[in-house]
């Protein structure tokens, strides 16, 4: 499942989520972000039993991005039980993202 989150509902939808959440920090002007969008959707579909993918537009939601020290995009951050478990900076193929998530979640 792919959802869209904002500074306002980040707590509720990401930090308080029962499932693990992969947050995709992106922006309109970022070329690699457009490339990774379909890849992230594929990952969401593949791991739908264990994972929610949340997209966060960095220009519209600067607070969350600044809180987690996002300094280059795309950045993917995996959250579980309200805590960031790890992050991937820059474009990656789906297989690499999936294996990183599976490793972090012990799937």
């Amino acid at each position: 499942m792919v959802i869209h989150v904002t500074d306002a509902d980040f707590n509720e939808k990401v930090l308080n989520s029962d499932k693990a959440v992969l947050v995709d920090f992106w922006a309109e002007w970022c070329g690699p972000c457009r490339m990774i969008a379909p890849v992230v959707e594929e990952v969401a579909e593949n791991l739908k039993d264990n994972l929610v993918v949340a997209k966060l537009n960095l220009d519209e939601n600067p607070m969350t991005a600044s809180l987690y020290g996002i300094s280059s995009i795309p950045t993917l951050v995996l959250f579980k039980d309200g805590k960031p478990l790890g992050k991937i900076v820059g474009f990656r193929p789906a297989a690499q993202i999936k294996s990183a998530i599976k490793g972090a979640l012990g799937l």
Partner: protein, 281 residues
């Protein structure tokens, strides 16, 4: 989708383009003219052209390149990703796809700044066009290794509150008012979760972000998963790397750093890339 993407426009890259074109493959070639060739006053050992200067040779190579179908893209390649059946190439803020890739970026002995790789993506960036908007109204520092980095620093100055520029080459610089030149030797990046400081020999720069702008990036960040030996890529006799469909040619594969070897290897890489493509069909 191109058949062959060539990273680097020196003798090896152009030789690869000429040969891939001869094998009827579509070609895209990235990069500017080889500075190493351009700066050679004379190349005495390239057979048949005994007194040619580097500048003349580069001109002749470019003329030859124009006789091919190659699409020439003068941008820095940030990364090459193996996608399984094809490659995705990020050149600054744009992506290109190709079925095979030939690395011909030359060899770079410039040492990275300490912790440059540790903080890459965490306050350190290789691409100003990609990440500049993240630093709107903030303070950044640029370590510039080439003339293009001056333009990039001015571009950052439009967005950022202040830009520090550390030149790693000699030249006259024309900058906007909010750019401050720091002539000093960068030693290492420092910070807790992200890079916060650049320690130089005689000074210290604190900034929100750091841009390291050079002609070619460290191989391990250029191609994730590539097997390397120091500044060189490991290849077999067919000039293929450990990644299927990814070849390398020229100075990047090791000594001797000579035009004749680069041209020969460019040909071997291109012919084997063509064979790889024909077998895939």
């Amino acid at each position: 989708m191109f058949d062959v993407a060539i990273i680097g426009k020196g003798p090896a890259g152009i030789s690869a383009a000429v040969n891939a074109f001869a094998r009827n493959k579509s070609v895209v070639i990235f990069g500017g003219d080889s500075k190493k060739v351009l700066l050679s006053p004379s190349i005495p050992n390239y057979p048949g052209l005994p007194k040619i200067s580097g500048k003349d040779l580069m001109e002749r190579l470019n003329e030859h390149l124009k006789l091919t179908n190659a699409t020439i893209i003068n941008k820095t390649v940030i990364a090459v990703y193996a996608m399984g059946n094809y490659f995705s190439i990020q050149a600054e803020n744009d992506f290109y796809e190709a079925k095979s890739v030939i690395l011909a970026t030359g060899v770079d002995f410039k040492k990275s700044i300490e912790n440059e790789d540790t903080f890459l993506g965490n306050g350190v960036s290789y691409c100003a066009t990609c990440d500049a908007p993240l630093y709107k109204g903030k303070v950044v520092a640029v370590v510039g290794y080439n003339h293009e980095s001056v333009e990039e620093a001015n571009f950052l100055a439009e967005v950022c509150q202040k830009v520090y520029f550390v030149p790693m080459f000699k030249g006259e610089f024309k900058f906007k008012e909010n750019v401050e030149i720091i002539k000093d030797n960068p030693l290492k990046f420092d910070g807790s979760l992200k890079a916060e400081k650049l320690v130089l020999k005689n000074s210290l720069i604190e900034a929100d972000g750091f841009f390291v702008l050079k002609d070619s990036l460290p191989l391990t960040s250029l191609v994730p998963g590539l097997e390397v030996d120091g500044p060189h890529v490991l290849v077999d006799k067919r000039m293929e790397t450990n990644i299927k469909g990814l070849f390398a040619a020229g100075d990047i594969t090791g000594k001797p750093y000579q035009v004749a070897k680069a041209i020969g290897e460019g040909q071997i890489a291109a012919l084997n890339a063509a064979e790889y493509l024909d077998q895939k069909k």
